[in-house]
């Protein structure tokens, strides 16, 4: 009894409030996305995604209770075991999984399907936190960095093999955690430069870009000090950049599958083929844009309901919100997400234990990547990558996984006064 009262007193009610606000808003929007006036089917009907989502919400409550009951030290102690089990499941799903929309990432159990890759997120976060909190851990040590990289990289590699590149990309979010824990920013700067070059390569013809780079380098040499060492460095830099441009071109045209190429092309110029690869982005923007400032009103949207927007209750749920609730609605939800992520960072920062802090940052980062990519793709700022909007999109695995992710943190956080700094 005493412990429960402690939990109630110590738990972070702000995160819980945002959590419930988002799942309820999500649930209402899922109904709006699949609503059909002529069908006369209510929000609770199990034939609709909204009815099913209510089951996922209900089971999430059970998960929350379980997490709250289990000893907070369990997650620390069992981190590797959980990680191991998930890796096993990720491998197993390759052999016994069900193929859905081109990805073999689902276990079918009865009428329901479970996606182990969703749980890989929290398992990786736990393992990462566990490993980084070991004694004498230093990111600058090659061994530590290598193993850290492996912990982060193994699940997404398996997930890519399953054919679900989108979910794999989410693991890129762990870079934020590493950054917080002292990763050299140069690594991140180089990474971002590579991405920028990648995008530029897609926008401009290869030759134009190479000429531009050489011209830029020549200008720097001409107007700078003409020392041999400097000139050589610049020339080497130019050659590397040209190499990157070539390899990106090769990567996009020869390695990426056509549908992946198209998604990148659609991001850069969706109008080029509005009915082909630009369809999703064009329709998504039409749905959101037509909502205006105040929206068309709940259940009054047309674009998502009439299937112009694909995947309207899962990946493109933000369109329903944008169309029916307008800019007021979208901005409010964005505010909620940003508020949630900052709150999670604050929680992470107030941990005495490194394990809890790394885990907290992992939670915030994973939510951030989902938010960044999901909302970004619906408004044309990101390529279409099929990952859900946390807590909002329809989907049991996703909701469960985020519930687990968040509530483990809340559980650990509630007990933060009980731990001694190692």
């Amino acid at each position: 009894m005493r412990q429960e009262r402690t939990i109630v007193n110590k738990i972070d009610w702000i995160v819980i409030a945002i959590y419930f606000t988002l799942i309820i808003l999500g649930w209402l929007n899922i109904y709006a996305a699949v609503y059909d006036e002529e069908m006369q089917v209510g929000i609770f009907d199990l034939s609709l995604n909204s009815g099913k989502q209510l089951i996922w919400i209900g089971t999430s409550m059970v998960i929350i209770l379980v997490i709250m009951t289990v000893d907070f030290r369990f997650y620390d102690s069992f981190a590797y075991i959980i990680y191991g089990v998930v890796i096993f499941l990720l491998i197993a799903v390759l052999f016994v999984g069900t193929k859905v929309a081109g990805s073999t990432s689902w276990f079918s159990i009865g009428g329901f399907r479970v996606q182990p890759s969703e749980f890989a997120k929290f398992a990786t976060a736990l393992a990462l936190a566990k490993y980084m909190s070991k004694v004498n851990y230093k990111l600058s040590k090659f061994n530590d960095l290598f193993i850290t990289a492996c912990i982060i990289a193994v699940p997404p590699v398996l997930i890519v093999i399953q054919g679900d590149t989108g979910t794999a990309l989410v693991f890129g979010g762990f870079v934020i955690v590493l950054y917080r824990e002292g990763l050299n920013p140069a690594v991140i700067v180089i990474g971002l430069t590579a991405i920028a070059l990648f995008v530029l390569t897609l926008i401009f013809p290869q030759t134009t870009l190479i000429i531009a780079v050489i011209a830029l380098g020549a200008l720097i040499i001409l107007f700078g000090k003409k020392k041999w060492k400097r000139v050589l460095t610049i020339v080497a830099g130019i050659l590397i950049v040209i190499g990157v441009i070539w390899s990106v071109d090769y990567f996009v045209n020869d390695i990426l599958k056509p549908h992946q190429q198209n998604r990148i092309k659609a991001l850069i110029n969706p109008e080029a083929d509005p009915l082909g690869y630009g369809w999703n982005v064009t329709q998504s923007k039409i749905a959101i844009g037509s909502g205006g400032l105040l929206g068309k009103g709940y259940l009054q949207g047309t674009q998502t309901k009439f299937d112009f927007v694909p995947e309207q209750s899962t990946d493109f749920i933000f369109c329903t919100l944008g169309e029916e609730q307008g800019w007021i609605g979208t901005t409010s939800v964005i505010f909620l997400f940003v508020f949630l992520m900052i709150r999670l960072v604050r929680i992470a920062e107030r941990q005495k234990e490194k394990f809890a802090r790394v885990y907290g940052y992992s939670v915030a980062s994973i939510i951030f990547i989902h938010f960044l990519v999901n909302v970004g793709m619906t408004i044309g700022l990101f390529p279409v990558i099929g990952i859900p909007l946390p807590l909002f999109s329809y989907g049991g695995s996703s909701l469960w996984a985020f519930t687990v992710l968040i509530f483990i943190l809340l559980k650990i956080d509630a007990h933060r006064m009980q731990v001694l700094v190692r």
Binding site: D36, E37, E38, I176, Y179, R180, G182, L275, Q283, K285, I286, A287, I288, G289, S290, G291, G292, L293, T302, Q303, K305, F306, D307, F308, G322, E323, G326, W327, T330, T331, I334, F335, F337, V338, M341, I342, V345, E349, Y361, A364, F368, F371, L372, V375, G376, I379, L381
Partner: protein, 602 residues
């Protein structure tokens, strides 16, 4: 340093949130193209085509009705044809045509329906209908085409066709869209506004697969179509058909008018075509064929061809002379036959005899009296003043200008005015002797069959006419256009008509009268023959008439090209038409045979 990182991370979260809010503000608030794009996605405008008014003849017979045809529509986004060859076979088109058409409509608008194939007849469509279910994205749209149960009156009725680009650009009402049908000529054009009605638009919401999901905003934006007004024509279809039959193989025009109302009983242009020929899918092809025809079947001779009226002009000259007081009815004028060649022998002539015998010399003298009234010392000036006065009379008879019939492109003909002669000879360089051929309706004077029929009706009425018109009732009003209810006076006293009409009676009924072929047992037909000189070939045969003499019910003018004397082709046809109209049967079979034999030059 690592402390800064936690702030930097939070800062990044906020910046991303802000960027998204700004981008959303841009697409949701600043950019106003998405709203219409969304409507374009879900709205399917379904045109509710109005029902074009139909046209009856004066006895309630259908002249023009509507035939349903089917436009095969396609929504390119949803179009699914698995077996193109089968589809083409069922529709009776070539595969190349299918591919070409699909590409066209796809390029035009992939979401909105376009016409895939126009104007399938009800029979053709019935054959295809059973297969329609196999082809998603295709659906029929009912349109109506003009249909005719007879082959008559094509020139007057005109035709309906797809609106042209130029017409669409000139349209300021905004009521027409590409592909709409519009009256292009004849009554269809003249009464377009009344006939067309109002198209409606129904807005339906559809999902991405084109399945209709209900009306848009509960149909608040929908408009329903209003049918056009029905018209009743003045034409007697039976008489029209009879006249067209008589004119078969001949070139010319015929107009019959009910004198007391100006209603056109028959308006014939020969050769013509069957009105159904220009309705339907083959319109372009058929139209081209008619355009290339050397006999110009599209040319409405009854109102568009003008020619010298010849001797049929003489009663008019007589009436002017009487009104001007330059002759009296009983005045005997000696005609030596020296002024001009003449069929009438030398001797004394009064008005009656001059018209009956068609004396050229008499009318030369009379016209000289009309022109030269000694209003001026200068004979040139005097001639000009006289001609001006004479012009006024002719204008009052409806000559020299379009009468204003309710069929477009009526020609006004020509009456020689001082300006015209000044142009030819120079000012004060012409006098009566220069222009005297117009005394007997030759030379520079040009009239249309319609004008001649109207002139004949005006004589029948003893001094007035109503503008000839072909539509007597517009919709529920039961009235023609207002201008057709206005009486036009000739400015000639009723008394002056007696001797002229008596003479016209004699032309037909007196022994040896030139118009004898127009005579009908038991009915007094009054007429005047004419032979219109034609420098290009045989003269044109002309005849005007009205009957009965008292209380006339029909006035007519007949003009047959290159058929020689008016006494033959024109008079025969006029007589038969009058007989047909007044008695409903033809007793003078031999005249009918004579006309159908068609040998008028001998």
């Amino acid at each position: 340093m690592e402390d800064n990182r936690k702030y930097f991370i939070q800062f990044t979260f906020i910046i991303v949130g802000l960027i998204y809010c700004i981008k959303l503000f841009q697409i949701q608030f600043l950019d106003d193209t998405y709203g219409p794009a969304a409507e374009d996605n879900i709205l399917r405008k379904i045109r509710d085509y109005s029902y074009r008014g139909i046209i009856y003849d004066r006895n309630g017979e259908l002249l023009v009705h509507n035939d349903p045809v089917f436009d095969l529509m396609v929504i390119p986004k949803e179009a699914g044809v698995k077996d193109t060859a089968k589809f083409c076979a069922q529709l009776g088109i070539e595969k190349e045509e299918f591919i070409l058409r699909m590409n066209e409509v796809r390029e035009y608008d992939i979401f909105q329906p376009s016409v895939f194939m126009k104007m399938l007849s009800i029979e053709d469509f019935a054959k295809f209908q059973d297969f329609l279910v196999d082809y998603p994205g295709f659906y029929p749209q009912v349109r109506s085409l003009r249909g005719y149960e007879h082959e008559s009156l094509a020139n007057a009725l005109g035709y309906v066709g797809e609106i042209s680009k130029t017409r669409l650009e000139r349209d300021t009402t905004g009521e027409y869209k590409q592909g709409d049908y519009i009256g292009i000529s004849g009554v269809e054009l003249e009464y377009e506004k009344e006939l067309k009605g109002q198209n409606g638009i129904k807005y339906k919401m559809v999902n991405v697969r084109g399945v209709v999901k209900g009306s848009f905003k509960n149909g608040r934006r929908d408009t329903i179509s209003l049918p056009g007004e029905n018209l009743t024509a003045t034409v007697d279809l039976e008489l029209q058909q009879y006249g067209e039959w008589l004119m078969e193989g001949l070139a010319g025009g015929l107009v019959a008018i009910e004198p007391e109302t100006g209603e056109i009983l028959s308006l014939i242009s020969s050769p013509s075509y069957s009105p159904g020929f220009l309705s339907g899918r083959l319109f372009s092809k058929n139209f081209a064929q008619l355009t290339l025809d050397s006999l110009k079947p599209l040319f409405n001779r009854a109102i568009m061809s003008v020619y010298p009226p010849g001797s049929t002009f003489k009663p008019l000259q007589a009436l002017i002379a009487l009104q001007e007081g330059v002759i009296t009815p009983k005045e005997q004028i000696y005609c030596s036959g020296a002024l001009v060649g003449d069929h009438a022998p030398p001797g004394y002539y009064d008005v009656y005899k001059a018209i009956q015998k068609s004396s050229n010399n008499y009318f030369y003298i009379v016209f000289k009296r009309i022109i030269n009234r000694n209003r001026s010392e200068n004979t040139f000036v005097d001639s000009r003043l006289g001609l001006e006065k004479w012009n006024e009379y002719l204008y009052r008879f409806g000559l020299g200008r379009p009468l204003g019939i309710d069929i477009p492109n009526e020609k006004g003909g020509q009456i020689p005015s001082p300006q015209l002669y000044n142009g030819i000879y120079g000012e004060n360089r012409w006098k009566w002797s220069t222009i005297n051929s117009i005394s007997i309706g030759q030379g520079e004077i040009l009239t249309s069959p319609l004008q001649m029929a109207n002139y004949s009706a005006a004589i029948a009425n003893r001094g007035y006419f109503y503008t000839p018109h072909i539509i007597k009732e517009i919709g529920a009003s039961g009235k023609p256009k207002e201008e057709y209810l206005k009486k036009h006076l000739l400015g000639i006293d009723t008394a002056h008509f007696r001797s002229v009409i008596d003479a016209m009676d004699a032309v037909v009924n007196a022994p040896g009268g030139t118009g004898f072929r127009a005579a009908i047992p038991g009915i007094t037909v009054c007429g005047k023959t004419g032979t219109s000189q034609n420098p290009h070939g045989e003269d044109h045969s002309v005849f005007i008439a009205f009957a009965p003499k008292e209380n006339p019910k029909i006035a007519i003018s007949v003009y047959v090209q290159n058929a020689g004397q008016g006494a033959r082709a024109a008079a025969s046809i006029a007589g038969l038409m009058i007989e047909k109209y007044l008695t409903k049967e033809i007793k003078k079979i031999w005249i009918e045979d004579y006309v159908k034999r068609g040998h008028f030059i001998y």
